[in-house]
Point group: D2
C-alpha cells in the first residue's frame, strides 16, 4: 500500500501518518518528489484500517500495491506452494485425489435424480450435484427448479437429492440462491453449498455464508478479473472460515461460438501463483457445448484444477434446463476415466514444473556478462 499525501500536506502531517502506521506495526518508506510525497507501507496490509488513514489530515488517497486477499492467498512461495484441502462430506478435495462432482443441472423428479446418482457413482464420481432452485434468465421460462415454489417444495427437493446421494454413497452439492435458505439446506443434510455465477458479487449472501460450517464452492462472476474475484471469495473467509473452493466457469468476451470463455489461465494463476484453495473447472457452463466438455475438462486439470464440475443427465435430450451441455451417461463415464489418467500424469510430471524463482538468481548473476556476450559489437 502506498499513502499519497496531498500537494499541500505539511511535513508535520506526513510525520503524523508515518507515526500512526508505525503504531500499528507497519514499516514505512518515503519517496519525496518535487510535488508529492508517497509513503510506502510494508507488511500485511490486508488488516490496515484504510478508512482511518484516509481521514487523516494531509492524506490524498491510498494506492494498493500488494494483494488484499489474505486468507485466500497462497502462503508459500514459488517452488514451495502450500495448498489446503477441503472436505465435502467425507470426500477430501484438493489433496491427492481428483474429485469429480457430477449430476444433472436440475433435480427433476425422484426417478431422474436416483438414476443420475446411480450412473455417476458407477462411473467414478465422488459427489452428486443438482439444482433445486434454478436461475433463469427469463422469468417466464416456466421452470425455476423443483424447489422454487415454497419452503415445502424446497425441502422436498433437497430431500430427493440428499436421499439419492446417501443411497449411492455420494455427498451432495447444491446451489443456494437466497441467504434465507442457508439454514434449510444445512437442516436437510446437503453436504456442500454452491454460489452461482449470478451471485458471485452478492454481498449479503457471501456475508451469510461466513457462518455456515458447510464447505462452499464459489463460482467466479463472468465479468470479474482474476484478482478481483479472489477479493469476493475472501469475503466469505474474512471471519475465519476456511473450507472454500474456487471455481472457474467462464467469463464474457466477444466470443459468440461458445456460451462463455473458459479462462483456464485463471485456473493456472489460482493454483500455481495466487491461492491456497482447491480449484474447480466447470467446462459444462464454460463452453455450453456438449462436445467441448471433454477436451476442456482435461485441459482444466492440466491447468491446475483438482475438482471437476460436470453436468450429465440420464437423458440430456429431455433435460428441463441446459440439456444442450449435459453429457450422455456413457460420455460421462469415459470422461471420468480420461480425467483419472490426466490427473495421474499431472502428478507424475509436476516435478518438471520449475517456477522462475528457481532460476532467477542464477541468471541474474550472469546478467552483466550475458549483456556483454550477446550485445557486444551489435
Amino acid at each position: 500500500m502506498i499513502v499519497k499525501m496531498s500537494r499541500r500536506a505539511t511535513p508535520e502531517e506526513v510525520d503524523a501518518v508515518e507515526e500512526k502506521l508505525h503504531g500499528w506495526g507497519y514499516k514505512t518508506g518515503k519517496m519525496i518528489g518535487e510535488e508529492i510525497t508517497l509513503i510506502g507501507v510494508y507488511g500485511d496490509i490486508s488488516q490496515l484500517p484504510n478508512g482511518e488513514v484516509q481521514e487523516m489530515a494531509g492524506v490524498e488517497g491510498l494506492i494498493p500495491i500488494s494483494r488484499a486477499y489474505k486468507r485466500v492467498a497462497q502462503k508459500g512461495g514459488p517452488g514451495n506452494l502450500i495448498h489446503q484441502t477441503v472436505h465435502i462430506g467425507k470426500v477430501e478435495v484438493g489433496g491427492d485425489d481428483l474429485a469429480v462432482i457430477a449430476g444433472p443441472c436440475s433435480v427433476e423428479s425422484e426417478a431422474q435424480i436416483m438414476e443420475a446418482a446411480r450412473f455417476v457413482k458407477e462411473a467414478g464420481a465422488k459427489a452428486l450435484r443438482g439444482g433445486v432452485v434454478k436461475y433463469r434468465s427469463s422469468p417466464y421460462s416456466g421452470w425455476e427448479g423443483i424447489g422454487s415454489s415454497s419452503e415445502e417444495a424446497l425441502r422436498n427437493g433437497l430431500k430427493l437429492i440428499v436421499k439419492a446421494g446417501r443411497e449411492f454413497g455420494l455427498p451432495t452439492v447444491v446451489e443456494v440462491l437466497d441467504q434465507n435458505d442457508v439454514s434449510i439446506y444445512e437442516d436437510m443434510g446437503v453436504d456442500c453449498l454452491q454460489v452461482g455465477e449470478p451471485n458471485s458479487k452478492n454481498q449479503a449472501l457471501l456475508n451469510r455464508l461466513r457462518e455456515t460450517p458447510l464447505p462452499v464452492i464459489h463460482k467466479r462472476g463472468n465479468s470479474l478479473d482474476i484478482e478481483a474475484y479472489l477479493l469476493w471469495v475472501e469475503r466469505i473467509m474474512a471471519g475465519g472460515k476456511e473450507n472454500v473452493i474456487l471455481c472457474e466457469r467462464g467469463i464474457v468476451s466477444s466470443n459468440k461460438y461458445t456460451r462463455n470463455t473458459l479462462d483456464l489461465g485463471g485456473i493456472a494463476a489460482f493454483h500455481y501463483q495466487l491461492s491456497c484453495l482447491p480449484v474447480a473447472v466447470d467446462a459444462s457452463h464454460g463452453t455450453g457445448i456438449r462436445d467441448l466438455v471433454h477436451p476442456m475438462t482435461l485441459a482444466g486439470i492440466m491447468a491446475g484444477a483438482s475438482v471437476i464440475l460436470v453436468e450429465t443427465h440420464p437423458n440430456p435430450l429431455i433435460a428441463k434446463s441446459d440439456g444442450f451441455q449435459g453429457l450422455f451417461p456413457e460420455q460421462f463415464a469415459r470422461l471420468v476415466a480420461a480425467c483419472q489418467q490426466v490427473w495421474e500424469l499431472r502428478q507424475r510430471i509436476e516435478p518438471l514444473y520449475t517456477p522462475s524463482a528457481a532460476w532467477e538468481q542464477t541468471y541474474e548473476a550472469r546478467v552483466n556478462a550475458d549483456k556483454k556476450r550477446f550485445f557486444a559489437g551489435v
Copy 2:
C-alpha cells in the same frame, strides 16, 4: 419462437405439437426440411409454457426469435413510441422533465448528508441519493456504510437521509442489498429502491422486489447484453409491477483508462427501440473519472436518458468511498444547468429523428428501379 422437431419425430408428433399450440391461441407455420421440421410460433410468446412444449414427444428444442420481455418492452412501433412515467415520491420521471438524482456515494454523517441535500437541491436536483450499506470489493476496506453493522444502524442511517431529503423537499433513492431489508427501507420512508450492479442478476432480491410498492431503479450488470439485461428487469415486473427505471452504468471491456465502459448505445436502444421504461445514465460509475462525468452525462441525455444519476459530495476529497468520481458542489451546479439545456434541445429537435420505418416503404417501392439505375452496365 421456433419449435425444432427431432430428426425422428413422426408426422403425428408434429401434428400434436401444432394442435397444442393452436389450443393456446398461437398461429403456427411449418418449414419441412429434408432432415428436420421447424414449427414457427406466432404471437406473444412471452406467455408460452416452454417447459410443457419441451416435454412433448418428438420435440428436440426451442429456438427463441422474438423478445421474451413483455412488460419491459416498447409497445408502440417506430415513429409511434410509447413511454411510461414512474413516480419517485411526487417527482415524475420519464415525462416532460429531466430528473437529476444526486448525492454522495455514502451517507457518512448527519452533517454531511444535510449539506449534500442542501446544495443538490439548490442546484436543481429532483431527488437525493446516498448509500447506507455499501458494496465493497474488499471485505477489509473498513467501511461498508453507516448502516452496515446492525438493523439499528441501518434504521439510523436511513433516518438520516430521509430526514435530509424531507428538510429540502427531495425524495430519496437508496440502494438495497438484501431482500430481508426491503421492508425496513419501506418502513423508514425511503422513496425509491436501487438495485446495484453486483445484484443485477440476484434472482432472490429481484423476486422480492415484485412486491414493493416503491419504484425501483435496476442497474444493468456489467456483463449483460442489452437484451439479456431487459429479461432480468422483466423479472421484477413479471407479476404486474410497473414502476421500474432502467439504468446504464458501464460494462466491462478491454478498456483500462476508464473504470467501466459506459454503453450509451444501450441507452439509445432502450429508449428508441426496446423499452417503454424511463432510462437513467450514471456517468459517475460509468467513467470513474470526475472530469468525464460532465460530458458523458450530457451525451447520455442525447442518447435517450431522461434520468441522471450523479455522485457529488460537499468535499469529494474526503469522501469515504468513490471520492475520485464525485463532483465538487460547484461542478455539480453547472452540470445541472448544462443538463437542462441539453434536455430542452433534445425535446426541440426530436421531430428531426425519423426512424427508418417512415422511409422503408418508399424506398422498397423503388428498389428494382434503383437496382437498374445504379448497377446498369456496371
Copy 3:
C-alpha cells in the same frame, strides 16, 4: 518512467544509471527499499532510449508511469485545453465548425456516387466518403469494392469519387488498405486517407503514412484500450506529421444487440483529457443499426466529437455492403440539421464545464476542516 534495479544491483550500478539519465537531461529520484531500489525518471520520457537503459548492468526493468504519446497528447492542462485543427482539402476540421463526412459504404457506380454526393452536399455535409477497396470478413462475399481487382480498377474507382466530390465541392475521404496504394491515392487527388479498424495496428501501413502530406483519419481498433490506441496513432506522427484525426467506431464487448459497443467515454477522454487532435464519431459502424445512428451521433458530439462520419446511400436497401446501417437520404438530411443544433449548443454551454483542477486547490485547503466538520463524533 521508473527504472527497477535488480536485487543484486550494486550501489555503483545504481549510480551509473542515474548518471546516464542525468547526462540525457533527466532529473531522477530514488526510493531505496529493503530489497529493491527504484529510480524515478522525470521529464519527457517519450524520447528516453529504453533499450539502452535496459541493457545497463544492474537494471531489472522499466515501469512506465507517464504517457508515452507525445505528439498526440494534450499540451495544455485542465481548463486550458489546446486543440489543433486539421484541413481536409479546404475544410477545417476540429475548429469552430462541425464537419460532417458522409457517403456510401462503397462506391458502386458513377451514377450512385454522383447521386450520393449531390444529396449529402445539399444536406450540409462538408466532405464525401466512399470505399473503393473494401474489407470483407468473408473472402467469398463476391464484392471487395469497385477498385479491388487491379491497379487500373483502383484508379478508375478513385476517379469516380474524386469526380463526384469535385462536381459538388466536397473534398473526399477514402480508406486505404495497402501501403503500396498510398501514392496512387495521392496521385488520383483523394483529399484524406482513412485507416480502417482492421488495420489499426498495421505497423507497416502506419509507418508508410508518416510520409503522406494528406490528412489521415485513424480508426481505433476494436480491442484497443483508450491509451493503447493513442500510441498507435503516435506512430503515424512520430516523425513530425501533424494532420491526423482520431476516430471512435466501436469496440468489442459481450453485447450482442449492437454490432459494436460505441465507446463515447473514449471520445470524452480524448477530447477533454488526453489529446490535442480532432475526434470523429462513427455511429454507423459503432451501432450497426440504422435507427441508432441518429441518437448516437448526437451523443457523440456532446461527448466531444467535432467530426461526424456517417454512412448514407441513395437507396440503402440495395447497398452492396453495410446497407443495414446506411441512412436513407431524408434521414441523413435531418440528422445533419440536428447535429448542427447540438454542436451550437455544445459551444454555448462549454463554459459550464469546469474541470476539477479549478476546484481542487479550494477544496484541498478545506480538507482538514471538513474532516472535522463531517466526521466529528461519528
Copy 4:
C-alpha cells in the same frame, strides 16, 4: 443461407430467385409467412455469389446459416474427424508428433540466436522461431527488431536466424509484417511465415500470402470470435493454398492479471469441431507471465493443440523484448519433456472421447419413454 424476400416481393420475383439458385445447382426450400417469404438455400454456400443474389428484384437480404469457410472447415463429421498435416521444412505438423517451435521473441545478435538454436534443439524443439522486425506498441521503444531499419538489415537479420536454424537442423519460423517483404523472406530461406496478432485482419497481407509456397501460421486477432477468425484464415486459402496453421494466443477480456485471455475453448472448437487445420497454442503471449507458460501449454495440448509456440531466451532477464514471458533454458527443456508426455497421453486416451453424435440416435429413440419415466406424476 436464407434469402429474405421483401414484404413487397411478388410471387414472380420469388420464383426468379429460386430459379437462379437452382441454375447454380442449389436446392431450395420456402417458408411463406404472413408477411415475409424466406428461401432456404441448401448446399455449399461458400461459393454462392451473394452480390448477384442481393441485386435481384424483390430480395431484401441474405441471412447466413451455415459456415462460410470451406477450406478451413472440418470435412468429416463427429467421430470421423479428418485432419490435414502441414510441413515446415521437413517437419510434419498436425500429424503423429507434437511440434514444439521455440526461440527468442527477437533475434538480437548472432551469438544470441546461435545459443538459442543450440539449447532449443537440445531440449527437443522441432523448429526455431525469432522475430527480425517487431511490432512495438510505442513508436519510441527504441527497438523494432534487428531487421527493421532497411532491406539490407532485414536480409542480414533473416540470414542470422536461417544460419542458426541450419546449423542445428531446425527449420525457421519468422513473422512477416509487410506484404512487400514476403519475397525477401522466401529468398533468404525462411521455412515458415507467421502472421502476427496485430495483422490478423490485414486483408492486403493475407491476400499476398495466397501466393507463397511457404506454410503460414496465422495468429488469431484478439477481438475475433472463433468463427470470425476462421473466415480471415479462409482468405489465405481461398485460392487453393493448403499449408496453413491456426494459432490461439489470447483474446481481450476484462482480465487484468494475465496479459491476454488464452481461449483454449477456441482450440478445442477448432480441433474437435470446426477445422481440418493443425492448431498451435502460444501460452507465452497468451498469459504474458513466465510462470504460467508451463501449465497453460500443457492445457493447450489437452484442449487440442498439436503445435507449441513458446518464447525462450539464453537469458530472458536481458531480452530486448518480452523478456518477462520468456522461459529460462532449463525451464524450457523441462517443459518440452512434459509436453511430450502429455501429448502421448492425449493420443492414448483419445478413444475415450466420444462425440454426442455417437449417442444421439440411441437417446433420441428413448426420448418419449424417458419423458414418461422421469416426468410421470411430477
